[in-house]
């Protein structure tokens, strides 16, 4: 078991396999093949998952619908989400960020770029969690 966990959500197995291969040596990797499965895994592993890689077009809740549910849930809202898309247009990027995603990954995958982006986001998230903990300790005292 590693310290950090990633949830990969994509209906295409090949995309999950590529992404898993990038992270499997350093992170615990959970997989979901649709939006419903993703929310179920998130419920079970919410304390462990530090970043979600989320495809947009999927059956049983698409990426935007999943993201909307994450944003509405106080327990998940801080978990960073990176959307996966093949659409490199500026409007698609703006829509993804407007929905509350932290970043965007474009297909075809560039393993080195994805690895670094995810690593940076996990690092920032761990600092954020630490700050939130300190803040709540201050509020309690």
């Amino acid at each position: 078991m590693f310290d950090n966990s990633i949830l990969i959500v994509d209906d295409m197995e090949i995309n999950r396999l590529i992404l898993k291969e990038i992270f499997i040596k350093e992170y615990n990797v959970y997989e979901a093949s649709n939006g419903e499965e993703a929310l179920k895994t998130l419920e079970e592993k919410k304390d462990e998952i530090e970043v979600i890689l989320l495809d947009i077009y999927m059956p049983k809740l698409n990426g935007f619908e999943v993201l909307e549910k994450i944003q509405k849930n106080r327990e998940y809202i801080n978990i960073p989400v990176i959307m996966i898309t093949g659409d490199s247009s500026q409007s698609a990027e703006i829509k993804v960020l407007d929905y509350g995603a932290r970043d965007i990954i474009l297909k075809p995958f560039d393993s080195n770029v994805i690895y670094r982006r995810v690593k940076n986001i996990i690092e920032l998230y761990s600092y954020k969690k630490e700050l939130m903990k300190i803040k709540s300790e201050i509020n309690e005292s």
């Binding site: 209906d11 295409m12 197995e13 090949i14 396999l17 590529i18 291969e21 093949g86 075809p108 995958f109």
Partner: protein, 120 residues
Amino acid sequence: MSKDMVKFYQIIDEEYTEVIKRFMYNESIYRMCVEDFINDDCVDEIRRCYYNGDREGVFQNCHALKGVAINLGFTRFFKLVVSITEIYRQAEGECSEKEIVKLNEEYTNLCTNIKDYLYA
């Protein structure tokens, strides 16, 4: 295997090294994905949906297929899928039967070539 696949990618004007890099140089994962691609029923589904007038079905299957095609470095096939996807992204309109036939032909040729080199 890689030597044969290098030749295969040369035939389709692509670089095998660029593709395998995407798979973190793990040939067994790459092979698994290529086998998934040749056994996938997306193209059959696209045809079925097209002839049944199921626009959403055509779009969903094309969308799934284009991500796989580009990750495997099948750029020419990818462009064909993209052109159909973009038609179905709009609220109305549909591609011609000729485009569906071409998609099927390209996919069949690609699969035949892959099998020749992958199992050489």
